[in-house]
Symmetry: C2
Subunit: 440 residues, 2 copies
C-alpha cells in the first residue's frame, strides 16, 4: 500500500537546467569569472537575505513591489534583488578595511517576484564588476570596463557584438543649454527609445512635450552625429555648445575612447551611441550597453556605467564608482531560444572507463585513478548492462573517449581506446592513451 | 543638510568575508568542484526557493521549525534547507531524461533559521555529491565516494585527516540477533556517542535501557574490535553472528575496503569505525564520517552514506543512492578559528602595474594587456598617490609582483620588476618579466 505522493515540481520563473545545459551554463559563468579575475577584480559573496530596512533603504516603486520580503521572529527580512545595494552596504561597513580603489566582482542569484513570462526570471544570476573609489575615481577605469566586456564576449564566442558607449553629461549639458532641465527625465526617456522607434517618432514625441523648433533642431543635430568614434567626438566639439557639463562629457568620452585602444580592444567592437541613456537617476557619467550584432532583438546583454555616490543611503563618505552587470540567466535563456549555442557538445568527463566484467574491475579502477592523477576528468562505469547501452550512456553525456578493458587488454597491458566522435578504435598502452585523450 | 542614513549591517549567522578571506574560501570551493568533476560528477543548480509542500514533503520536527517559509501571492514558498530534497525532486521530475547511474554534484547555499551562536550559520554552503541508481546501484560506488573525499582533503592541504567507515547493516543485524530491534534507535543513539563519552558510559547507558549482561557483552565484543581494516573485517566474521543482514554488512564493507586501495587512497586515511551510526532513519548501508586527525574537536567535516530510497515522497520508482556532503561554511569558519589556514597569502592578481605618472599610462595599459593575454591576472593602478602608498595597497592585497613603469623604462623598452615578497628588483624586458612572473 503506497503512501500519498507529493507531485514534484519547480516554481515557474526559476531556471532549472538539465545536465548538458548546466555544463554550458557553468562554462559561461566560469569564463566570466576568470575574465573578471584577469583584470584583478576581487571576489565578494554577500548573503541572499538581508535586513529589510537595509536592503530597501533606497528602493521604491516597481522594484519594491517585486521584492520577496518576510518576517522570521521579530526580524523583517528581504531577499536581495540586485548585487549593487549589497555592495553599497558592504563598502560602507568595511570602508576602513578595504583597499581603494576597491575592485570587486560578484556572481550570484538575485530575486524579483515579477509576473512570470517567457524570458523573465524570478531567480537569476547577475555577474557584476565595480570599481569603487573613495572621493574620486580616475576616468581610466571607465575605459578598463569595456575592455573587460570585450574580453568576456570574445571568450564566450557567441558571435559578433558591439559595445555602445555614451556619457550622461552630454545630454545633461544639452538640456541645460536648451533650458529643458525641468523636463530632463521625460526627454531622456524618449531619446532612449530612438533605436526602437526611429528618429521621426522621437521628434513628434518631443514636440508633444512642447519643445520648440530651434531646440528640436539642436537635439537632432546632436542625435544625428555619425562617423567613427573620433569623428563623433570631433563633431561634438564642433557643435560649439557653451556648457561646462557638456564639455566635461566630451572630454571624458574622448579619454575613454583613446584608452580603449591601448587595452587591445578591436575598434569595431566599441561604438559611441549618443542616444543611449540607461535609466534616469543612477548613472552620472560614462554609460555602456552591449548588443549581439546579429541579435539586437535580444536587447542589451551587458550594461552599466559611472555613478557619483554609491553609498549615499548608508554613509556620509562619497564613494564614486563604475561598473557593469551581465544578466547571465536571461542571456543563456535567449542564446538557447535563438539557437546560438548548442548544449550537446560539452562534457564534464573526457573519458569513460568500461570494464567488460567484474573480473577487470580492479584494473579499471587503477586506470581511472591514473587518468585522474594526470588531470583527466573521467568516469568509471561498472553497471553490468549491454555494451550498446554503455555506449548510449556515454553518448548522452557527450563523452568523447571510451577506455575499454577486457581480459585481453589486461593480459597485454593495454586498453582499447575508442573515440566516440570518430568511432576510431585503437589498442594502446596507458601512457599512449593518456596522450591521445589529452591532445583531443 | 544630510538625509537620514540607514545603518548598514549584515544579519547574524550569515557569513560575509573580507576579500582576502573570500579568496581562500573560493579556492576551497574550486578545489572541491574540480575534484568532483574529476570523478565525472555532473553539475546541478536548483532554485533556492521551492514550493513549500514539495520541499517539506518529508520534513518534520526540528528541521521544519528552522525553515524560512513565507507566502508570495497565493503561493507558499520555502528556502531550501539542504541539497538532498531538491535532488530528490529533480531526479523524480527528470527520471526519463537523465542517464543512470546519475552522478551529480551541487555546491550552493542552504538556509536554516537556527538560533545564532558561534560556529552555527543560518546561510551556509553545502558541497554535495551523490550517485543515484534506478532500482539498484553497484557497491563499487560506495568505494568511489571515499576516494573523492580523500582527493578533496589531500588537495585542500589542511592537515592529516581520517575517513571513518562503517555499514549500518552491521548494527541493524546485531540488534536483530540480540532481539533488541524494538529499541534499535535508542541503542544506536548511545553507541554513536562512544567517541565522545567513552565505552564505560556507553555501557551504563545501555544497561539503563534494560539490556542484559549477555547482550551487553556481545555489543562490547563488537565495539571493541580493533586492528587494521582487514583485521577488523576478519574479526567481524569470527563473531559468528548468524544473521543475514549482519553478513551483508560484512560483505559490503569488505568490498568497499578492498576497492578503496585500487582508487589510490593511502591506507592510513581510511579506518573502519564500528561505532559511527550517522543518524537514525536515512542511511541504510555504508556510512562515512571524516575528521581532521589533529582537530577531532571540530567534528566530522564530511559525512554521508548509502540510502535505499531517495524519492519515496515523490515517486513510485525506487532510487538508491550514495553520497556525501561537505559543510564548507562551517569548515572554513573552524579552520580560521583554529588558525589552520592563513588568509594573508593568496591573491587574485599576480602583478600590479604601476605607471609613475600619466605620461606612462598608455604604455602601462599595453603592459597589462600583454600580461593578461598571456594568462597573468594583473591589476592596473593609476591613482596618483605616493609610491609608498601604492606599495602598501599591493601588500594589503598580497600581490607578489610590481611592474613599475617610468620615463626611463619606456625609453629603454624595459620594466622594473619588483618582487614584493623578497624585495628583489630587476630591469628586464617584457618577455623576461612575463617569464619571471609565471615561474613564481
Amino acid at each position: 500500500m503506497g503512501m500519498k505522493l507529493t507531485k514534484p515540481r519547480t516554481l515557474s520563473g526559476f531556471m532549472e537546467l538539465l545536465p548538458n545545459e548546466q555544463i554550458v551554463f557553468n562554462h559561461f559563468k566560469q569564463v566570466i569569472q576568470q575574465t573578471y579575475e584577469k583584470f584583478g577584480f576581487l571576489p565578494l559573496d554577500t548573503p541572499v537575505l538581508e535586513y529589510s530596512d537595509v536592503l530597501l533603504a533606497k528602493a521604491g516603486g516597481e522594484t519594491e513591489k517585486q521584492i520577496y520580503e518576510f518576517s522570521k521572529g521579530d526580524t523583517k527580512l528581504c531577499m536581495r534583488y540586485d548585487l549593487t545595494v549589497p555592495l553599497a552596504k558592504y563598502v560602507s561597513m568595511h570602508s576602513n578595511e578595504l583597499a581603494f580603489p576597491f575592485k570587486r566582482y560578484q556572481i550570484g542569484k538575485v530575486y524579483r517576484g515579477e509576473r512570470a513570462q517567457r524570458g523573465r526570471f524570478r531567480e537569476f544570476y547577475q555577474c557584476d564588476i565595480d570599481v569603487i573609489g573613495k572621493n574620486n575615481l580616475d576616468i581610466i577605469y571607465d575605459a578598463e570596463i569595456p575592455s573587460v566586456i570585450y574580453n568576456v564576449f570574445k571568450q564566450l564566442n557567441i558571435g559578433e557584438f558591439e559595445i555602445n558607449i555614451s556619457n550622461r553629461k552630454l545630454l545633461k549639458g544639452l538640456m541645460e543649454v536648451l533650458s529643458l532641465a525641468n523636463i530632463n527625465d521625460e526627454v531622456l526617456r524618449i531619446i532612449d527609445k530612438k533605436a526602437k522607434i526611429g528618429m521621426e517618432n522621437v521628434n513628434s514625441m518631443l514636440s508633444g512635450l512642447g519643445i520648440g523648433v530651434n531646440e528640436l533642431q539642436t537635439i537632432n543635430e546632436f542625435l544625428n552625429i555619425t562617423g567613427n568614434n573620433f569623428e563623433i567626438i570631433s563633431q561634438l566639439k564642433q557643435l560649439g555648445l557653451d556648457n561646462v557639463i557638456f564639455a566635461e562629457g566630451i572630454n571624458e568620452l574622448e579619454q575613454v575612447i583613446s584608452a580603449i585602444n591601448a587595452f587591445g580592444v578591436e575598434e569595431n567592437c566599441v561604438k559611441i551611441d549618443l542616444s543611449i541613456t540607461r535609466g534616469l537617476d543612477y548613472y552620472t557619467g560614462t554609460i555602456y550597453e552591449t548588443f549581439l550584432t546579429n541579435h539586437r532583438e535580444i536587447g542589451s546583454i551587458c550594461s552599466g556605467g559611472r555613478y557619483d555616490n554609491l553609498t549615499s543611503f548608508y554613509s556620509e563618505e562619497k564613494m564614486q564608482g563604475v561598473g557593469i552587470c551581465i544578466g547571465l540567466t536571461r542571456l543563456f535563456d535567449q542564446l538557447i531560444a535563438n539557437n546560438i549555442i548548442d548544449v550537446n557538445k560539452m562534457s564534464i568527463s573526457k573519458a569513460i572507463i568500461l570494464p567488460m566484467s567484474k573480473a577487470e574491475l580492479n584494473y579499471a579502477i587503477e586506470v581511472s585513478t591514473f587518468l585522474r592523477n594526470n588531470n583527466v576528468n573521467c568516469e568509471l562505469f561498472v553497471d553490468e548492462i549491454k555494451f550498446k547501452n554503455k555506449m548510449s550512456y556515454a553518448s548522452k553525456k557527450n563523452i568523447q573517449f571510451a577506455v575499454i578493458i577486457g581480459e585481453d587488454e589486461i593480459k597485454n597491458k593495454v586498453v582499447s581506446l575508442k573515440n566516440l566522435n570518430t568511432f576510431e578504435q585503437t589498442c594502446v598502452n596507458l601512457e599512449k592513451a593518456l596522450e591521445i585523450i589529452k591532445s583531443n
